[in-house]
């Protein structure tokens, strides 16, 4: 091949030397012999599991060779290693089905994050100052073992608390096993958008204490109440796949395009794709659901008993829900009676139809009622366990973690158990960031004598740790997931390491096993290693169904809000941001720079205000406003947002980290901070949508708001010529 062909080839492939491989001092470093034989330039694909949310998507990791700088017995050098290059959805995985969400795509940056913790550390400075010194693993483990021994000696095992993210995973089972055998309370699961209310409701209505799975691929009519199921809620990737099919996947085989109606006060990413957007007063979603049910019952479109126990759980169901005549519902929800009539008829006409609820509607003081109402509607529509309806993934055990009840997140949670926490273990849960100030989580942490964290990064919570035993990244270790939703059949994903560890870290489950064995009175665990545990067959798990609270009929209680409408005229709606979810992925640069789908915001946080409201407040795009709740004040730039009710303001969760790597620290503001500590009356879950705020202009555009987009509308000057 002569030079010209070569140039042509490069012209086509765009190949060329990468900057990364030139201008580095690598050639000066010693080259170590690789541990395993590597075929350079040939990519392998290895399975893994996405750790970012409870959906637990199965991954296929592209692995190729690269020069990695390491230190071997004191000698700095480089070694060729197979390292992960890209994450794809695993086509064979029933959850991800080959797709992946933006967060999942960026998860690989966790492994390569420049601010990742690379070795065990012991605190030297005051708590929260982030001053640590490197220690060896032996020292670290000895330290923790010592602390646990001390508890054991004092017969005080109860005051050991483990704070983790509530996941259906064997990792958490292992922790639970260890704790119970040690004599400590079960792990405390903490997550902001935990959806415990929905689990409870499903237990009540259907006997499954788990999140639902929707058969969108076969549904003909979808009515969603606040559930951001295409963006951040439940199992987004599988739901996106289903959505694609329900819209355009069936025509080829003579099927029809499904209809999709979305009910919420602020148009979310999901509502943007809906055929019909139905704004409703916050916290009254359940009323609308029952209003629809009332019409169906009244017109005998469906048998009342179809709802079964789900119906029985609603007060006045058997009586045909007389309190929910369209006129009353219109008064409460703000949705016109006519529209309610129409929707009700469509629901029946276009069966199989399914209703879903999630997110904000459950984060009100009457969240459980809203959930139960929608469940009852599903029952009435015959959508439960039916094609195109709602399913419950089988074989899913109860979460080993007890859902937190405030102030349970605060470790003096011990308080309810009647004793104080002495030792606290934190596994990647950031309760400081994700709790209202009013919960005083910091203060609580300060009272804990000893805190150890297994996290890979210093965040607001692990900053309180006295000892840090950093975990491998999910690509460097055995990982597993038993998603509670997203597939019609039971799913259990287990995957080995996709690459060798980059840093001096250790797999946390193995560390726990090691510690268990090292205790003065060792705790006997059935497994020698986490790998062994994962390879062992999953034992027949007690079905979640057996745990069902007695069904008692609930009445509608109007949602309570913190702050009176006069002083605090706006409903404050924090929502899971498409990039950062609950803030746990704010440290990934790709996600920081990904334009928000609706506002195109990057690297910043903002508050979304209806155009007319903005006009009334005299604020424009980018202006700075004070957002004041009874709990405190935030400052954020304004995004004028046509898709939000005039009495609602919304704010993405995720920014506003005080300390979370170079990319997220001191960036934007954290709406959770000013939330009132109201809770869902039945379950005690945080009612994060129940706060009211007032807005006052604080200043002009100071460039704090970074947008990617220029204009909001496609034709901004339409009809301008007529005016002038």
């Amino acid at each position: 091949m002569d030079r010209r062909d070569f140039i042509k080839l490069t012209a086509v492939t765009g190949a060329g030397a990468t900057l990364a491989s030139c201008g580095n001092p690598e050639h000066q470093l010693i080259r170590f012999v690789p541990d395993d034989d590597i075929v350079p330039g040939i990519a392998e694909f290895k399975p893994s599991v996405c750790p970012l949310c409870r959906a637990g998507c199965g991954l296929s990791v592209r692995v190729m060779d690269a020069d990695v700088e390491t230190v071997r017995n004191g000698q700095a050098g480089v070694v060729k290693m197979m390292v992960a290059k890209k994450l794809e959805g695993d086509p064979k995985n029933p959850i991800s089905r080959g797709g992946l969400c933006p967060r999942g795509q960026a998860a690989i940056q966790i492994t390569y994050h420049p601010d990742r913790l690379t070795h065990p550390m012991k605190r030297t400075g005051a708590r929260g100052t982030g001053e640590y010194k490197e220690v060896t693993w032996d020292e670290a483990i000895a330290e923790l073992t010592g602390q646990l021994n001390a508890l054991a000696d004092a017969k005080d095992q109860k005051s050991l608390v483990l704070l983790a993210r509530p996941r259906r995973s064997r990792r958490l089972e292992l922790f639970a096993e260890f704790l119970s055998r040690f004599g400590a309370p079960a792990p405390i699961g903490f997550e902001l958008f935990a959806e415990d209310v929905l689990r409870r409701a499903n237990a009540v209505s259907f006997g499954h204490e788990q999140l639902p799975t929707f058969d969108l691929a076969r549904a003909h009519y979808v009515l969603a109440f606040g559930a951001d199921f295409l963006g951040t809620w439940n199992s987004p990737v599988s739901q996106n796949a289903g959505y694609g099919v329900m819209r355009q996947g069936r025509q080829a085989s003579g099927g029809t395009r499904a209809r999709f109606v979305h009910v919420e006060p602020r148009m979310s990413l999901t509502a943007a794709s809906a055929d019909e957007f139905v704004p409703v007063k916050p916290g009254t979603e359940g009323v609308l659901a029952l209003g629809l049910a009332h019409i169906i019952l009244r017109n005998k479109l469906r048998p009342a008993d179809a709802a079964g126990r789900a119906g029985a759980a609603i007060d006045g169901w058997s009586g045909g829900l007389q309190d929910f005549k369209p006129e009353n519902v219109e008064k409460i929800t703000g949705v016109s009676a006519l529209r309610i009539e129409r929707l009700a008829h469509e629901l029946v006409e276009f069966r199989p139809s399914v209703a879903m609820i999630g997110g904000a509607p459950l984060a009100h003081t009457n969240g459980l009622f809203n959930a139960l109402a929608v469940n009852a509607l599903n029952g009435l529509l015959g959508a439960v366990d039916q094609p195109g309806g709602v399913f419950f993934t089988p074989g899913v055990g109860r979460s080993p973690a007890t859902p937190h009840r405030p102030p349970a997140t605060a470790p003096q949670s011990g308080a309810d158990a009647g004793l104080a926490v002495k030792v606290m273990l934190i596994d990647d849960a950031n309760s400081v960031f994700a709790s209202p100030k009013a919960w005083k989580v910091r203060e609580a942490l300060d009272t804990v004598p000893f805190i150890a964290s297994f996290g890979s990064f210093l965040d607001e919570t692990s900053l309180y740790a006295d000892l840090i035993l950093p975990d491998h990244s999910f690509l460097e270790t055995w990982v597993d997931s038993q998603p509670e939703s997203g597939a019609l059949d039971a799913v259990s994903t287990v995957a080995g390491p996709a690459m060798k560890p980059l840093h001096n870290t250790r797999s946390t489950p193995d560390v726990v096993i090691e510690i268990a064995g090292k205790l003065k009175s060792p705790v006997a665990l059935p497994w020698k290693s986490y790998e062994e545990m994962l390879k062992a067959p999953v034992g027949s798990r007690e079905s979640a169904a057996s745990h069902q609270p007695p069904a008692t009929a609930v009445k509608y209680q109007p949602p309570r809000f913190d702050g009176d409408a006069a002083g605090f005229p706006f409903h404050f709606l924090p929502y899971a941001s498409q990039a950062f979810l609950d803030g746990s992925t704010a440290h990934l640069p790709w996600l920081q720079e990904m334009p928000d789908p609706l506002t195109s915001g990057m690297w910043s946080s903002w508050i979304e205000i209806n155009p007319r409201t903005a006009e009334r407040l005299g604020v424009a795009l980018g202006d700075i406003v004070d957002i004041t709740s009874s709990q405190g004040t935030l400052q954020a730039p304004v995004v004028v947002f046509p898709g939000i009710a005039e009495d609602v303001v919304a704010m993405p969760v995720g920014q506003g980290h005080e300390n979370f790597t170079r990319y997220a620290s001191k960036r934007g503001v954290n709406p959770i901070g000013i939330l009132a500590p109201l809770t869902e009356s039945e379950t005690g879950a945080l009612a994060w949508a129940a706060t009211r705020v007032k807005i006052t202009r604080a200043g002009g555009n100071d460039g704090r708001l970074i947008l990617f987009a220029g204009e909001m509308r496609e034709n901004p000057f339409e009809g301008r010529r007529q005016e002038r």
Partner: protein, 230 residues
């Protein structure tokens, strides 16, 4: 007959989730410019999900539209380049040869879709982030233009494999990063010269339309209109 790579974007399937945007960064070594540069609107997104508001609350609608290089057959960006850095390949791709680019940025001005991006500085990857870089894609130096390539590295890899195995490429065998990541399957990629391929079938659909068709740029990306309920 040479291949003619094209794509269809089903706006009825697209949910605007943005997975394609991140996937593109991951596959193509697109630099993260950081907040300061992003504020100067120098962020580089080879594919972007445009969103347009219609109407006012409560009767408000929102349109999503993923926009990447349309790989035009009559691309305005190509002839204006004095050094042939931007030119058309035999397979109809709108190639950008970084080594030839001297940074006149004329192509970007001529492009009606604003899908070309400029490296204002040398890209930085704080170690060990650089370990993620895709060795099949060259990293761009300061002063050159870059844009969506339809993941040409994947295309040629697949073609080389097929050649080695002495077989024809299968439809759907090649998936650019954005297509692969799209869980709603809104994006379909394939050979427009193969009338049987999914992409050909879809681009013949009555819902199909090209972006800024009236300019006569002959794009190879077809947008399938979002359907509205009556």
């Amino acid at each position: 007959m040479p291949h003619r790579w094209g794509m269809t974007v089903d706006l009825d399937r697209c949910t605007g989730c943005g997975a394609c945007v991140t996937a593109c960064h991951a596959e193509n070594n697109i630099a993260v410019v950081g907040d300061v540069q992003a504020a100067k609107s120098r962020a580089m997104h080879w594919i972007r999900v445009e969103r347009y508001w219609e109407g006012d609350f409560p009767d408000v609608r929102l349109k999503f539209r993923p926009v990447m290089c349309q790989q035009c057959d009559a691309a305005p960006c190509e002839p204006v380049c004095p050094t042939y850095a931007s030119h058309h390949t035999d397979e109809g791709l709108n190639a950008q040869v970084y080594n030839r680019c001297i940074g006149t940025r004329y192509c970007a001005n001529a492009c009606p879709y604003n899908v070309r991006f400029f490296d204002f500085y040398n890209p930085k990857w704080p170690r060990p982030l650089h370990l993620q870089l895709n060795p099949d894609v060259s990293v761009r130096e300061v002063g050159v233009m870059e844009k969506c390539t339809f993941c040409v590295q994947r295309i040629s890899a697949a073609e080389i494999d097929a050649k080695a195995e002495k077989r024809e490429l299968k439809d759907g065998e090649i998936e650019p990063a954005c297509v692969q990541s799209c869980s709603a399957k809104a994006l379909v990629f394939g050979d427009l010269n193969d009338p049987e391929s999914e992409v050909s079938r879809l681009s013949r659909s009555t819902r199909g339309a090209k972006l800024l068709e009236e300019l006569g740029t002959l794009p190879k990306v077809t947008y399938l209109a979002r359907q509205t309920q009556v």
